[in-house]
């Protein structure tokens, strides 16, 4: 046990770890938002609700059918992603020709509906979700105690983020996607079904949110309002990073999580506003965002 700046290492690294965990979720969610924004040109306000649905679905699967965490990790993103596909196909598609602000309003409305429904049936209180057996316990690293599950969340979300980046920036499918983002009409002229790509992109982004939800379930309590507060922070993350770059979204997400964790150590009372404060500074210094291209 030693101290850094008068702070016990246990506390410092503990908060740093928590920051990295939060950062994982910021990264996964802002990544999803960025991918959806790139293709659909809308901000998906339902993202927080879809994250919450992910966590809740994992909880319900375990509760009623005994389906464990690992299976949920696969089933839930696909199931919630499928609901996203339905939303895009039947609702968002009708707004294609309109100002993107209508998309924001529509998805905001959907978020209210989803959150309201869950609150009706499950109340506002949180439901616990146990850490899967194989990931219980942890390791003492000497300077801190590292719970296995938390280590898993960080590593796994890094892997997911990297795979998404790779798929979009380095594969043929990703190149179609980027081309369609730049000029959908031209890509359509090459015989590619852009509408279907838009639908699948939305489904994928929603699936990412749901995946984050499943991963969050054992860490935070599963509750209907877990998404709405988080999504506003993620919006600030997105404003700071700018949605122009996939890597930018990932890096900003993790970095802000760490900053938030450190703030919790040194200025605990500012910890939940620090990301907003950083957003203000970024707007003053670099209005286009850290990774953004100015419009």
């Amino acid at each position: 046990m030693f101290e850094i700046f008068g702070i016990p290492s246990q506390a410092l690294f503990g908060q740093l770890l928590l920051g990295l965990i939060n950062g994982s979720f910021y990264a996964l969610l802002s990544l999803g938002l960025a991918v959806i924004f790139g293709m659909l040109n809308i901000i998906n306000f339902t993202h927080g609700a879809q994250y919450m649905m992910g966590a809740f679905t994992a909880y319900l699967l375990l509760q009623y059918w005994g389906i464990n965490y690992w299976a949920a990790l696969v089933i839930v993103p696909i199931a919630i992603g499928a609901t996203g596909i339905i939303i895009e196909r039947f609702l968002l598609r009708r707004l294609h020709q309109l100002d993107p602000l209508y998309g924001l309003l529509l998805t905001f409305g959907l978020a209210l509906v989803i959150e309201g429904l869950f609150r009706n049936y499950y109340g506002a209180s949180g439901q616990p979700y146990n850490v899967p057996e194989s990931l219980q316990g942890g390791h003492n690293l000497g300077f801190m105690f590292l719970p296995n599950y938390r280590a898993w969340v960080i590593v796994f979300s890094l892997v997911v983020c990297f795979c998404t980046w790779f798929a979009i920036e380095r594969t043929r499918l990703g190149s179609y996607l980027r081309a369609a983002t730049e000029n959908p009409t031209l890509v359509r002229a090459f015989g590619i079904n852009v509408s279907r790509m838009v639908t699948l992109t939305y489904g994928f982004g929603v699936g990412l949110a749901a995946l984050a939800g499943v991963m969050a379930a054992p860490i935070y309590n599963v509750s209907p309002q877990m998404g709405s507060d988080l999504i506003i922070v993620v919006f600030a993350v997105v404003v700071i990073g700018g949605m122009g770059s996939i890597m930018g979204a990932i890096v900003t997400g993790f970095a802000l999580g760490i900053v938030e964790g450190l703030t919790k150590v040194f200025f605990p009372e500012a910890s939940n506003t620090v990301i907003f404060a950083i957003m203000v500074v970024v707007l003053l210094v670099r209005p286009a965002g850290l990774f953004g291209r100015s419009a």
Partner: protein, 322 residues
């Protein structure tokens, strides 16, 4: 919301001006007669929200800026007005002045930051700033945290009119709200308002015509925030309460909903929308969380098939401007 198909034509010739006069007359007559039929407190609440929605509509309807954080000005003005009236014992007119001034200052700061980005980012920034100030409200002593500021004295207006008498209060609220309403009306029909509409339709063109669009946007933003603050300050006196509900993002959502239901970019839409939503909430209050679901559903329906809103549809049907 710049696409021309959604917003009723903004031409404002002599031939349509009569429709506005008629509508204004109907509104005023209704509001004068209403307290004899409906509960004054309900009407006062609806009027406060009508002014709030009109202030919000000034931005979305006439400059094309979607602020997702208008609860910030409404709620913080409400806090400061309540605090001034209760802790400092100031008369209602000064309490309202302090609340409104608070909103103006917040509007200058938040507006100055938010207009640095366009479109969808603008909405996210205003939302994030409002959330930040919500978290501040949760912490600082002045707001009373979870309890809010309760039992705010209504006091005597100008030392003469006792606002504890419900009818006096109603008349006061009505005068304030109508004054705010006509101020907004004058602004959007002034040369200044024409520049705002030009920015909404095509900001680049307005810039190329030599207008400093950022300054116009900021002035409109501050005006909107200030009037939202006026609504919030009056609300604090009406309910004798300032609470976290007023600064929460759901409040920002509610004012958007009111404006959307009534009709974005229409003059009377926000007033109608506010009355519709407040009435709905009154009737649905016993159903708890269903209110959230229904509000959300109305959002979805409005965006999908009812983008003109009640007043917009009516104006379109009658072929006049409302």
């Amino acid at each position: 919301m710049a696409s021309a198909a959604d917003v009723p034509a903004m031409r404002f010739g002599r031939e349509t001006a009569w429709s506005l006069g008629v509508a204004a007359a109907i509104m005023v007559v209704f509001l004068i007669a209403a307290p004899f039929v409906l509960y004054p407190v309900f009407l006062e609440k609806a009027l406060c929200f009508a002014l709030f929605a009109c202030a919000f509509n000034l931005l979305i309807g006439y400059v094309g800026l979607l602020s997702f954080g208008h609860a910030l000005y409404f709620g913080w003005a409400s806090y400061l007005a309540a605090y001034a009236a209760k802790s400092w014992g100031l008369p209602p007119e000064l309490a309202i002045l302090i609340g409104t001034a608070t909103a103006a200052v917040l509007g200058v700061i938040a507006g100055g930051l938010a207009i640095r980005r366009q479109g969808i980012y603008f909405a996210m920034i205003t939302l994030a700033l409002a959330q930040m100030m919500y978290l501040v409200a949760l912490r600082v002593k002045l707001t009373g945290g979870e309890d809010g500021i309760q039992a705010v004295p209504r006091g005597r207006l100008f030392g003469v009119f006792d606002l504890n008498a419900e009818m006096t209060m109603y008349v006061f609220v009505l005068v304030v709200v109508l004054a705010g309403f006509f101020l907004i009306f004058r602004v959007i029909n002034s040369p200044f308002g024409e520049v705002l509409k030009a920015i909404r339709e095509n900001e680049q063109r307005a810039i190329s015509l030599g207008y400093n669009t950022d300054r116009y946007k900021l002035i409109a933003f501050v005006l909107s925030a200030t009037l939202a603050g006026l609504a919030g300050s009056v609300k604090a006196l009406v309910f004798q309460l300032a609470s976290l509900t007023d600064v929460h993002w759901t409040m920002s959502g509610e004012v958007i909903l009111m404006t959307l239901v009534g009709g974005l970019g229409t003059i009377f839409g926000p007033v109608v929308g506010a009355f519709v939503i407040i009435a709905m909430e009154n009737y649905l209050a016993p159903f708890g969380q269903w209110v959230l679901v229904i509000q959300g559903a109305i959002f979805v329906i409005c965006v999908l098939i009812f983008r003109r809103g009640v007043v917009g549809e009516l104006a379109n049907w009658l072929g006049v401007k409302l």
